[in-house]
């Protein structure tokens, strides 16, 4: 425990639906520049947990603190304003707008120009938009309609959008779901690089264990709503409880499609 508050501190997070505990007493923390993976089998409560961190879902009890500030009851957009970027399991982008415009909207919001009625949005901070797109390798796609993009490109666009408010923390829900193996590696490498350079904390959920073990600095494991293990990739890999859970489910490497029960 350091004296300065950690970037993200989660304490005793609990949520139940109709008497069934989706998440029970989950606590963990995350330092700036650290990449933390949240894993667990289907229905373990990963998505519920994730949604409570960024305000989409309210916990029954427990606390989420960002640099010591209580954000538990805040709305997603307020949490974003505190410097939390987010990507979704199923990408959420503005389909009728171009790639650059998608980033520009985020920049407009970040610079509090949302109610500017008579400015020119097409030239709004093109430089920064371009830099962000270059950063994620989408520079050549800036004028493409977002609706035409391949799935992997959409994921990278989401990353660029998530970086637009110079976040301290990135929340990525299955960032590589639906991507080809090559793309997964590229995207996670890119994310890790950006996180280290800018000292951004990253929390991600993931089904692909290759991705998890290769890129996470630390891993926490959820099963049936409770935290069962925490540690470095090597520690978690060797944890018998984790092995039991995954082997019991028989889902180690191919559970990459849907997480149904908890969302």
């Amino acid at each position: 425990m350091s004296v300065a508050p950690p970037l993200l501190a989660v304490d005793g997070l609990t949520k139940s639906y109709g008497g069934i505990h989706a998440v029970r007493g989950v606590s963990f923390s995350l330092r700036a520049g650290e990449i933390l993976a949240l894993i667990g089998p289907n229905g373990a409560g990963k998505s519920t947990c994730f949604d409570m961190l960024n305000g989409q879902n309210k916990p029954d009890s427990g606390h989420v603190r960002l640099l010591g500030e209580e954000v538990t009851a805040k709305k997603p957009r307020e949490i974003w304003r505190l410097g939390v970027g987010r990507t979704f399991q199923i990408t959420a982008t503005f389909a009728t707008m171009t790639v650059r415009e998608n980033v520009q909207v985020a920049l407009i919001s970040h610079q509090k120009q949302l109610f500017n009625l008579f400015g020119s949005a097409p030239i709004f901070d093109r430089g920064e938009a371009g830099r962000l797109l270059e950063l994620v390798g989408m520079g050549g796609y800036a004028d493409r309609p977002c609706g035409e993009l391949a799935y992997g490109d959409l994921k990278r666009l989401e990353l660029a959008v998530a970086l637009a408010n110079q976040p301290k923390l990135l929340l990525m829900d299955e960032p590589t779901a639906g991507m080809a193996p090559r793309e997964r590696v590229d995207l996670m490498r890119l994310t890790a690089q950006i996180a280290r350079e800018k000292s951004i904390g990253v929390l991600f959920t993931e089904h692909d264990m290759d991705v998890v073990f290769e890129h996470a600095d630390r891993i926490i494991v959820l099963n049936r709503g409770t935290l069962i293990a925490e540690g470095s990739p090597a520690e978690v890999r060797g944890n018998p409880q984790v092995q039991a859970v995954y082997l019991g489910e028989g889902l180690v490497y191919d559970a990459r499609h849907r997480e149904g029960a908890s969302s």
């Binding site: 957009r77 959420a92 982008t93 009728t96 909207v105 949302l114 109610f115």
Partner: protein, 629 residues
């Protein structure tokens, strides 16, 4: 006591008729997402055909056989309509089907007069249900009892159909998740056709069963269509039980409401709907609409500001329009002014609908409020015209601020229906508050000051304001606010995740659109010299929708063309023929089939196709050609 029981039963009988028609609409909407404006027309044709059959065929068998045969015949018409017309446009932008069914409705209204003549037709009473049953000294028509039984029976049959047959399971699945049914490999075409047929059958049956108690006439459709929509929405879209409960609720509230407030009927259903939607945004039995995974057709052409060439072209068009007074007469100028005013009205709705993704069914409320604002200021406060023009639209602005606040909490069809409810409430206030608004006789003598009185001056004023408004809204589309608004339309989830307060953005857009409509209404009051409740009525709201859809809902300024074409054609047809509805309806249906993206949307697509097929390196064509306004 007996009286209250009888009044309750009477309400139930009214509910049964309403339910039959509403259930059909609900099923159709639930599965196909078509806002079937023609549902009332099918109801009316059902009544007309049933009238003919029951007059020709004698006896009880002839009567009941005629009723059922009429409903079947209309269902067949429905199948033809679905296969020939609607099938072509399922992939068109949302609400485009509304345009098609609106066109059909217009045609049917004139056709029934051509076929059956203009007189009200009174059919015979139902054999075996001619009299009344005595209930503690009160008479209950036996036909009412028949209807009271029929309602739940139909509900039960539908329930069995949905719970016990494979078809029903598919319909329910499709109501909840259309994409899933498509993924299951079900022949979606035939599912939609059969659903449409069942829905139309119920509408026609509802119409045919009115024979023993109503007169058959050519305005029956409008009498029922709005009310039925309201019932469906109160019950929750796609919920048959909801439609039944809502029909009973509305009918009973009316039956007992008139005992206390005899004037309540005119507004009751809309009050109930407004309250229900504010408390329960998805109706009594509805579920939140699953967001469509992919909005069809919305991915093609990213919007761009006009290129300098296009700006020149627009300017040239404007200059040509401005020279109209040099060679046209007073009538042409007045028509020009009216068209310019409707351009303002249409672009204001377009801003809300295309940019904000919020299709208002009650946009005339703000147009009319602007007009009434002028009438109050000019007639009661006696203010000069310039001051009135500046202040009048504020009434539209205030109305939009109040109603918009509630409306933007909802989305999709629920948003549309809540705006409709608000518009009807405003309309009924204008209609009923005779001492202030003059009721349906309106406020007269709101003529422009002398500087704007001549047709040419007024034309230039209207053209100037229309240009200003169109340009201002265009600028807003490409402003940071415009981007934010489009963002909320495309993905609420993503907007929220990047710090956008979607409701505030949409509310602001609503107020902007309402104020702009108010400007149009203000000019309209001066053009006509008078204000009537019509100025806030449903038909004007529908006109605005039609103009936007006709121009192309996916375009930046298609509404300009939509308004010009629709209004010019409308004025010309009304002047030339008594069958203007038939011709206009036919034209709309044709446009829908030929230009499924609207007029401007189609032109854009052609331009884009040409761009793609043009040889690379041609310097002229390599530049982006954007035919959007």
């Amino acid at each position: 006591m007996a009286f209250y029981v009888v009044q309750f039963l009477t309400g139930l009988a009214s509910a049964a008729s309403l339910f039959l028609v509403a259930s059909g609409l609900s099923i159709i909407f639930g599965v196909t997402r078509i806002v079937n404006f023609a549902h009332g027309a099918f109801y009316m044709i059902g009544a007309y055909i049933a009238f003919t059959l029951t007059e020709r065929l004698s006896g009880a068998f002839g009567f009941w056989g005629g009723i059922v045969a009429a409903a079947l015949a209309v269902a067949l018409i429905g199948v033809i309509v679905e296969m020939v017309l609607l099938r072509r446009i399922y992939h068109a932008p949302e609400l485009f089907q509304l345009l098609a069914t609106f066109g059909l409705t217009l045609m049917v209204e004139d056709l029934v007069v051509l076929v059956w003549g203009p007189d009200d037709l009174v059919g015979r009473r139902a054999p075996g249900f001619k009299g009344a049953v005595d209930f503690f000294g009160q008479n209950i028509p036996s036909y009412d009892l028949f209807l009271i039984v029929l309602g739940p029976v139909v509900l039960g049959i539908l329930w069995l159909l949905f719970q016990r047959t494979r078809w029903g399971v598919l319909v329910r699945a499709a109501t909840q998740d259309r994409d899933m049914v498509a993924a299951l490999g079900v022949n979606q075409k035939w599912l939609f056709t059969s659903v449409f047929a069942v829905g139309v059958f119920l509408a026609a049956l509802g119409g045919a069963l009115q024979i023993p108690r109503d007169a058959v006439h050519h305005a029956m459709d409008l009498r029922i269509i709005v009310e039925v929509f309201v019932v469906v929405v109160i019950g929750g879209l796609g919920s048959i039980v909801g439609a039944f409960v809502a029909a009973v609720l509305v009918s009973e509230l009316n039956a007992f409401g008139i005992l206390i407030f005899p004037k309540i009927s005119i507004i009751l259903v809309f009050l109930v709907m407004a309250v229900v939607l504010i408390v329960r945004p998805w109706g009594l039995f509805g579920r939140p609409e699953a967001p469509a995974r992919k909005t069809p057709g919305l991915t093609v052409n990213p919007w761009r500001p006009l290129t300098s060439n296009e700006r020149l072209a627009a300017l040239a068009a404007l200059v040509i329009a401005a020279t109209l007074p040099l060679f046209a007469g007073n009538y042409a100028l007045t028509v020009g002014s009216e068209i310019a005013i409707f351009v303002i009205f249409a672009v204001s709705l377009h801003f809300l609908m295309s940019v904000g993704g919020l299709a208002s069914f009650g946009h005339a409320a703000y147009f009319g409020l602007g007009a009434y604002g002028i009438a109050f200021l000019a007639k009661m406060a006696g203010l000069p015209m310039i001051v009135c023009l500046l202040l009048g639209p504020l009434l539209g602005c205030m109305g939009a601020a109040v109603f918009g606040f509630f409306a933007v909490q909802l989305s999709g069809v629920y948003f549309a229906m809540l705006t409709l409810a608000f518009a009807q409430i405003v309309w009924s206030i204008a209609f009923q508050w005779v001492s202030v608004t003059g009721g349906d006789n309106g406020i007269l003598g709101v003529w422009p000051s002398s500087w704007a009185a001549s047709p040419s001056h007024f034309y230039w004023l209207a053209l100037g304001v229309a240009t200003l408004v169109t340009v201002a809204l265009r600028v807003m589309v490409f402003s940071p606010f415009g981007y934010a608004l489009r963002a909320t339309r495309d993905s609420l989830l993503r907007s929220e995740a990047i710090g956008i307060d979607a409701k505030r953005i949409q509310w602001t857009a609503f107020v902007i659109a309402g104020t702009t409509a108010g400007i149009g209404g203000a000019l309209f009051a001066y053009l006509k010299g008078s204000v009537f409740p019509d100025n806030l009525g449903i038909s004007l709201s529908v006109d605005a929708l039609v103009m936007v859809l006709l121009g192309g809902v996916e375009t930046v300024s298609g509404a300009v063309i939509g308004a010009i074409v629709y209004k010019a054609l409308n004025i010309w047809l009304v002047s030339q023929t008594d069958l203007s509805k038939l011709v206009l309806g036919g034209f709309i249906v044709l446009i829908v089939v030929v230009f499924p993206k609207g007029i401007v949307g189609m032109l854009e697509m052609l331009a884009q196709r040409r761009r793609k097929s043009s040889p690379p390196g041609s310097p002229l064509l390599a530049k982006p050609i954007e035919s959007a306004e």
